[in-house]
Structures are given as C-alpha cells and as structure tokens.
C-alpha cells in the first residue's frame, strides 16, 4: 500500500516565500484537497510533488522512492492547468500519445472506452481545435481514467466542467482511492467528495 511523505517542504518564487515547513503523510485511500488563496502556492506544491519544480528544502518520498527516481515518476500522474492536447490532432491521437507518455501504449479500444466514459463518445476523430474548453478538459481526464498511477495530482480538475463532469471526476477520484490510490487536488469550487481531508496553504 503506497504512502506519500512530505517532510519540511519549502517553496520560494523569486524573493517570495510561498510556503515553508509543509509536512504531510498520505496513506493508501487518502484524498487531500489543497485550498488557499490565489498565489498561495497550491500549483507550486503539486508541481513539486510531480517533479516539475524543485523544492527549496525538505524531502518527498513515495514509500522509499525519491521524487526524482524513475519508480516515483511511474507511480505519479499529474494533470495540470493545461490540457496537454495538440490542437491539430484528434482526441484519440492526443489520448494515445498522452497515455504512451505517462505509462504504456494502449489498445485503441481502451482509448475509445475511456473517451466514452468521460462523455465524448463519437468524438474520437474530432480535431481538438474544434472542441470547447470543457470538452478538451474531458479528453485530458480520459487519460486519468486510463491511468494506473498510484498517486494522482490534479490541479483544478473541475475547471470548465459542467456539474455532470464534476460528478464524473469525483466518482473517478473516489474509485481510485477505494482501490488503494492517493489523490491530491486543488480547487476553488465546493467538492462533495467523501472522506476528503483538507489542507490549507
């Protein structure tokens, strides 16, 4: 069962100290909602956990694996503000590339099923430039549906989604954590997720 440990993490941007001495331990099945005002460092904390940014001080471990290790990278899935979709490619092409980048090359049927589950059935061959912001977000979330990573780091996952989409993401997070995963997410919206812990920056 995975355990994510943050020990005395500090983050500085320029001359601004965003946060310091953040220590957390998350165990299998935990859902952590990170809250805070704009600029408080929510995204920076997720980026540090994803290995995109370096922390000023402190350590991060997933079980015994350090944040820069390959095992850690394989075990973590990060979904940022941006949907990571190329405008010229179709939904299925984008999804195929994203899943290959994050884990392994998947069968097309699995990708089609994932798109169906996020409410984009029939959009497989649609060019992403023609999709709305919410639909683009759903394509990105389809890669979440396919993810086998133990730890999910989701930055504003409900942005641009309708209430049905929000519910879909919440049930996706709950299913992941019921299966023993860990999820950390930031949001400014209300969330009805059960058993969520809240961490304020």
């Amino acid at each position: 069962m995975p355990s994510l440990t943050l020990n005395n993490i500090s983050c500085q941007r320029g001359y601004n100290l965003l946060f310091s001495d953040v220590s957390l331990t998350l165990n299998s099945g935990d859902i952590l909602r990170i809250t805070g005002t704009n600029g408080s460092g929510k995204t920076s904390l997720l980026k540090i956990l994803a290995g995109l940014n370096a922390q000023e001080q402190g350590t991060i471990h997933l079980d015994a694996d350090e944040v820069k290790s390959e095992a850690y990278r394989r075990a973590v899935f990060y979904l940022g503000h941006l949907p990571a979709l190329s405008s010229e490619l179709t939904c299925i092409e984008n999804l195929k590339f994203l899943t290959a980048l994050n884990q392994s090359i998947m069968a097309e049927i699995a990708l089609i099923n994932a798109l169906e589950k996020v409410g984009l059935s029939g959009y497989e061959n649609e060019i992403c430039a023609k999709l709305s912001a919410g639909q683009k977000r759903r394509v990105a979330l389809a890669s979440l549906v396919l993810s086998e990573a133990k730890v999910w780091l989701l930055d504003e996952p409900f942005t641009a989604l309708d209430p049905q989409g929000v519910k879909m993401v919440e049930s996706c997070i709950e299913a992941h954590c019921e299966q023993g995963g860990i999820c950390l997410f930031t949001t400014h919206q209300d969330s009805t997720l059960k058993n969520q812990k809240v961490f304020s920056l």
């Binding site: 994803a50 290995g51 995109l52 940014n53 370096a54 390959e70 990278r73 394989r74 973590v76 990060y78 940022g80 503000h81 941006l82 949907p83 990571a84 979709l85 190329s86 405008s87 010229e88 490619l89 092409e93 195929k96 590339f97 994203l98 899943t99 290959a100 980048l101 994050n102 392994s104 090359i105 998947m106 069968a107 049927i109 699995a110 099923n113 994932a114 589950k117 060019i127 549906v145 396919l146 086998e148 879909m168 049930s171 996706c172 299913a175 992941h176 299966q179």
Partner: protein, 240 residues
C-alpha cells in the same frame, strides 16, 4: 456512474500490430501535427525558394556571376529558413502543456527531444535538400557542384536543427522571441556556413573537399551528443 477502468495494453506482436515506442510516436505526432497545419511547414520553404529566386533579379542574370555565389546564397537561405522554422519547435507544446508531461514522464527527456528534432529535420531539412538541385540549377551550378551542395546539406542540416533546438529550448517561455533566437543561434551556425559553402566552392574549382566534409561531420556528431541534453536541461529550467 463511472466505473474504474483497467486498461489493456498492446504487447502482442502476434496480432501483427506494429508497436511504436514512445520516441517513434513523438516523431510521428510532430509530423502529423505539422502536416495538418501546413503553413508552419510551407512558410520556411517558401521563404527559402523566394529569397533564392530573387538573387538573379537583384544581382545579375549572368551565369558566371551567379554560379560563383550560388553556394553561399543557398546556404544562407537554408540557415535562415531553418531559423524561421525553429520558433514552432517547442512553443506549441509549451503553450498546451505537453512539454510538462514530457518532463515528468518516466521516459528519457533527451530522447523525446531528439525525436522532436528529427521530426523538425524531416519537415525542414529534407525538403531543403530536395529543393536544392532545382535552385542550384537556377543559379547555374554545374551538376558536380550540385551533388556536393546536396551532400553538405545532408550532413549539415541535421546540425542546424540540433543547434537550433538548444536555442529554441532556452527561450521557449519568452513570447515573440524571434530576434533573441537569431542572436543566440546565428553565431553557432557560422562554422557550418563557412565549411559548407567552402566545400561547394572548392568542388567548383576542382579541389578536394574532404577536410570540409570531415569538419561538418564532426560538428554533426558533436551536436548530436550535446544538443538533446542541453535542450532537456533548458526546458526543465524554462518550465520551473
């Protein structure tokens, strides 16, 4: 209600499915994106053709004059065309968040970048090599010199893409950075320009060109060894 999905993977070769690894997928993805946005591919090539075809009008239509400066003209135009195309190498993926995913992926970032550079060369360098005989003939280059010109382009255009990628990765987070890119990259292109145009001039004079080709090959090997790693490091810094 959402049901958590357990994905199935393509591992069986027995089904006759060709399994592309992630690096080949990155290359194909970039080529596919570029071909669907043809202006990004055509603009540098049109610049290459138009700028070269204007020289006979501006300087002289005489074959003796043009053949003497043909190699230099074609090489300068090639360099500027590649420079023009470098802006799109990382910018789109930076803006849409794909670079973030590449950086945090467990795959080798330098190899992912190398795949992008190969795609860039296939879309820019290869068309320039293929167009060069036509434009060489337009500037009255003899057939032997055209062969040497193509050979120098074949050896050196990959270096242009590799060196260019280092500059493009450094300034990926800066908007409207075309001028800065030129300032960063052009000095590094100068040795390539000197050796490549010198090789064609030597061939026109019937002299040996081995030394120039060795230098161009050495630059290619050096940039191949260094550029993907420097670009990877620059991208990581740009994304922080």
């Amino acid at each position: 209600m959402f049901i958590h999905h357990t994905p199935r993977f393509y591992f069986e070769k027995s089904e006759g499915i060709f399994i592309m690894n992630i690096y080949l997928q990155t290359l194909m993805r970039d080529i596919r994106s570029a071909l669907r946005n043809l202006s990004s591919v055509m603009n540098p090539l049109l610049f290459f053709i138009i700028s070269i075809s204007l020289f006979p009008l501006a300087i002289s239509p005489e074959s003796a004059t043009l053949s003497q400066i043909a190699a230099g003209i074609i090489w300068v135009a090639s360099m500027l065309a590649v420079l023009l195309s470098l802006n799109t190498l990382f910018h789109d993926d930076f803006d849409n968040g794909v670079l973030e995913q590449m950086v945090i992926s467990h795959h080798s970032l330098p190899l992912l970048i190398l795949s992008k550079i190969v795609a860039h060369w296939l879309l820019t360098g290869v068309p320039i090599i293929l167009l060069s005989p036509l434009l060489g003939t337009l500037l009255f280059l003899d057939s032997e010199s055209v062969k040497v010109l193509m050979l120098t382009l074949l050896i050196a255009t990959p270096s242009l893409s590799l060196i260019g990628a280092m500059g493009a990765s450094l300034i990926v987070s800066i908007k409207n950075s075309g001028m800065l890119l030129s300032l960063l990259i052009l000095p590094l292109y100068i040795p390539i320009l000197i050796f490549a145009s010198s090789a064609v001039s030597q061939a026109q004079a019937g002299l040996e060109i081995d030394a120039q080709l060795y230098f161009l090959s050495a630059i290619l090997v050096m940039s191949l060894m260094v550029a993907p790693f420097i670009s990877a490091l620059s991208l990581k810094i740009s994304l922080e």
